[in-house]
Symmetry: C2
Subunit: 352 residues, 2 copies
């Protein structure tokens, strides 16, 4: 099958402060092999599109400070495809920038937008979902999101409310979206789970480049005007200079607020694919292999005694012995050590 | 005062396995600055004799593998004064070896024997005690030990039973020893404490070289014969070769068993000088400055949250954050990390 119109946009600008000291502003989570697979999360994100999208159609949007990391980790991605934000402006400007850029090289591009730092346990289901969605958006002017089958009433994710009575005529795995819901209170999340037509929003979107550009024109006319104005420099030697000078003019807004919650033709493809945003030590702990005492380890020569439900994650240490800990994070990177109760992990940002 | 007959023998052959990973066989405790004073315990041991004993009269007995460490840490000590044991044979052969050696250079030597890795909080009292004992042994054929005023019923130390009714006629701080007692059961230790004439044996002895050599002749005639036999090579280029070949012939026995428990003219100088053998993480913890929550730290940039009664001791880490630990050791050296309950410290040897 011809996949030359398939594009992937990887958003790789996150700073990963919740995983300190494993991740840091100099080395955010997406650039780390946090699961000890031999590939960073960014590299794994690229790997999942093998056969779906040619390497030269993969684009990355990241912070200027991570340009070298991206180039080193993704040597097969053309340098022109790595867009460097001089400042953080949330996902809407980021997506507008890359959409306008891709449109200049392929006005028929069919695009998957994905975070760079998520875990997907069932890659086969993921690839099947992505393939179906790409086919769908190549035939319609629709925006599709992947909807993650929730396995607990999470309060940390946004939810997508699907109208399960209204499947698409061309693909009966794809349903109309009734609404996007922000991170709910626990009671509300419990109701979502019971109703079974609510899915986690994983920030994975599929659309045709014309669909998303038109959506910006309708719902974010100022942002669209900005990128129309600078369009002549995209792909030229002057691009970075102009972006550096003017990108901060863009409104700081997420694509969910800017487009998703306003647009009409939005669909969801529900999928149960062992997804995790790996947004915290506890979520990493739950995705790593565990010993019979619930301990997960990544690192050299780690031994635990009288310990349960711990995650020990080290990169610079030669040997680690842990005795008598229950429910703790022991994490080290570059000579920085954290020992902290998993239940207190939301305070980690305050510690460094 | 002329102190040219005063000698110090520092026994520095211990391997310090209880302080792993801070200490190791390659770097035992005596060579470490474990209290963060700027000087290793060995160097502090030497420093305490400033003005009491000339540097050229300080001798060190250690393992051959630590020769470089001793030379580096004690550059002012003559190389000839560093005796290298090819194997461990406990304290009696070690003391015989150095006593015969010192006798060849000064038959009137007045010697203090001391471990290399103890803590002494009140150095003034220590120096006063040592000075009085040296004077005493220069005038009599007595063996004197320092007796540490016990502050709890320790079961890990040997005790010295003093006859407090029998002070020496020449120094009323010095008493006859009734007996040496091995490490007692707790009940026995409690009785010792109540009786108040029992002192901890810190392994600090003072004697004239002729007194100790004669004691070996009487109570360890084989060992004395051995050193008489090899005496012609002591101080010559052949010494190390002969020691390497034959030192293992010596009986593996402590000086306490070999001499102290058998000899008659034994005295004790009781002293309360804030002594600790620093034999465990908990004893180190109790001697280090503590914050208001009972936490003691040695190392760079260590911060504790919600933690009590911990000792955090790091040397290779740039930053440490500890949250939610009560009564733990967090120790790192050379890329090896230990997290362990202080109450389980006796198991540390099993962990590495």
């Amino acid at each position: 099958m011809d996949n030359s119109n398939n594009y992937v946009v990887i958003m790789a600008g996150g700073v990963g402060s919740r995983f300190w000291p494993m991740s840091s502003e100099n080395m955010p989570k997406q650039f780390l092999d946090i699961m000890n697979t031999g590939r960073s999360l960014l590299q794994q994100t690229v790997d999942r599109f093998e056969g779906i999208c040619p390497k030269q159609n993969i684009w990355v949007v990241t912070s200027a400070r991570y340009a070298d990391l991206v180039a080193r980790q993704l040597p097969d991605i053309p340098k022109r495809n790595v867009l460097l934000e001089p400042c953080r402006r949330n996902t809407a400007p980021c997506i507008a920038y890359v959409s306008w850029s891709i449109k200049t090289v392929n006005p028929n591009a069919n695009i998957v937008v994905t975070p760079s730092d998520a875990f997907i346990g069932n890659v086969t289901r993921y690839r099947e979902a992505i393939s179906q969605c790409l086919k769908f958006t190549s035939e319609t002017d629709s925006i599709v999101t992947l909807g993650i089958q929730p396995d607990y009433p999470a309060t940390g994710y946004g939810y997508i409310e699907a109208d399960l009575s209204c499947a698409s005529p061309t693909n009966n795995n794809i349903y109309r979206v009734d609404s996007f819901r922000e991170k709910p209170e626990l009671e509300v999340a419990l109701r979502y789970i019971r109703q079974s037509n609510y899915y986690w929003n994983a920030g994975i979107f599929i659309w045709n480049v014309n669909t998303i550009v038109n959506a910006f024109r309708v719902y974010q006319p100022e942002m669209a005007a900005f990128f129309d104005e600078i369009k002549p420099v995209l792909g030229t030697p002057r691009e970075q200079e102009v972006i550096n000078a003017r990108y901060a003019e863009c409104q700081n807004i997420s694509v969910d607020y800017a487009i998703m919650e306003r647009a009409d033709e939005i669909y969801v493809y529900p999928v149960d694919m062992g997804w995790s945003d790996l947004g915290s030590w506890s979520s990493l702990h739950s995705r790593l292999p565990q010993d019979q005492h619930g301990n997960a380890t990544v690192g050299a020569n780690i031994r635990l005694f009288d310990s349960n439900n711990c995650i020990v994650h080290t990169s610079g240490l030669k040997q680690v012995v842990v005795q008598g800990l229950d429910g703790y994070i022991v994490a080290e990177r570059d000579g920085v050590l954290l020992v902290c109760k998993i239940s207190e992990e939301q305070r980690i940002k305050l510690f460094h």
